[in-house]
Amino acid sequence: MAELLTINGLDCFYGEVQVLHGLDLVLNKGEVLCLLGRNGAGKTTTLKAIMGLVPAAAGSISLEGRELSTLAAHEVPKAGVAYVPQGRRLFAEMTVAENIEIGLMARGKGQATREAVLDLFPRLRERLRQRSGTLSGGEQQMLAMARALCLEPQVLLLDEPTEGLMPSMIEKIRETVAKLRGLGVSTILVEQRVEAVLAVADRVAFVENGRNRETMTAEALRADPAAVKRYVGVG
């Protein structure tokens, strides 16, 4: 598979505290790459660095050869990367339709994109006039993903999308990620739940102390469950 997003030797700091130490990562076209690691390992910081929310002190982040780390944060989505943060962060006072509209307007997308996105999340179609702050947790997650997909990104960054959701919703989110792979959207997924990772990932990267310790295929991880225990401490 061809490389789509490449991170080389990435260093990031929060104030004087270094969080990422020369992190290397490769996302291939059309794959789902999961980042696994303990709390504080640097998974979310990696996503934030890709989006320009945390500046890169050293190293590079490139999307098909275009350097992202020098772009202003609001230009990264235009380059083709969409981010669904942990906790969803919807525009709670807006309706479902308005949240989607804001996503569509960002890159001048129209009705066709709207319909395609709503086809992925039929439940949202039934709730278009509902204020997003009143949706259930699973529906909010769907809306957050739908809004990001309105940008028609090449790369989708999902930070713990199944956190706090009931099993049926987790299954729907997993199905959607798999569908997106079929549509050619590459995904970096930060997840704590190993079984959810194995159900959807093509490859898994273990992040520890701000470094990518090991990357393996999902099949290899199934065959070596000790790897999870080694880097995540469970399993």
């Binding site: 990264v76 525009f91 990001a148």
Partner: protein, 320 residues
Amino acid sequence: MTEASTARIYGLHMAVVVVLFALNFLLPDYHHGLFARILVLATFAMGYNLLFGYAGLLSLGHAMFFAAGLYGSGLAITYLGFGVSAAFVAGLGCGALLSLVVGLLALRTSGVAFMIVTMMFAQAFVLTIVYFNQWTGGDQGLVLQQASRILTVGNASLDLTAPAVRYLAALLLFAIVLFVTLAIVRSRFGRVLVAIRENEERTRMLGYDTFANKLAAVVLSGVFCAAAGAAYALLFGYVGSNFASVQYSILPLLWVLAGGAATTLGPLVGTVFIYYVTDIASSYTSAWLLIVGAALVLLVLFAPKGILGFVRRRWIGWLP
């Protein structure tokens, strides 16, 4: 948004303007004069509402934009011999320039720091007015002569000191700013402002340049407030430093909060409400501030989103 709801929204706003026009012929003299003043100050409040209600930026320095329009037009008439139209444009220009400079600097901060920085700019502005008192009139201000307040349109001359002309000129300004505001809040730009208010980082992550949008909001807000200031100078003939004081930065906040932040008609409703509560209370007691305060406390308790915010939540969900 369907065509029917668009027609309904514009119909409502048109009806409000028609009612205000009819009041020109119905109100007794005292209330006629009061309402002309209210319309100008409601325009000031609409400018404030664009930034505070829609973009979520709480400024404590908007008096400087009102005063920029006030002094921009007043000084242009007094010292440069400008006519009414040119003086009004001069006031708008001063407001636009000042709001651009203040926006570029103040928007580097957010939250409480933004409030403090805007207040400091406004204090610097009022001190500048007082410092250059030989031109600005300092605390006493300047009175614009009646002869300088004649608007010439073609061969016709309109005396802005005449009560009916003054009222209709104030209504014209109010109506223009009202419909421009309505168009803005229903536009792509308006929706982005609301998104910024709701969650700025998320808005940036969708690819919007939030700084540029906020700066545009500050400038538009500043121009609306300056338009109100310029109109005030031209219609009421007085230019004074008290309009640049912190009191006139807090008043539009109160008017907007009372009427309903992020509602297009809220600034008018809030200005009318507070003006009349103040007027009625002060006719009964010298402790009128106590009554105004009590009215505001009741409003916050029972309608925390303001009068029209309450109406929108309870009855008219489509109210913009």
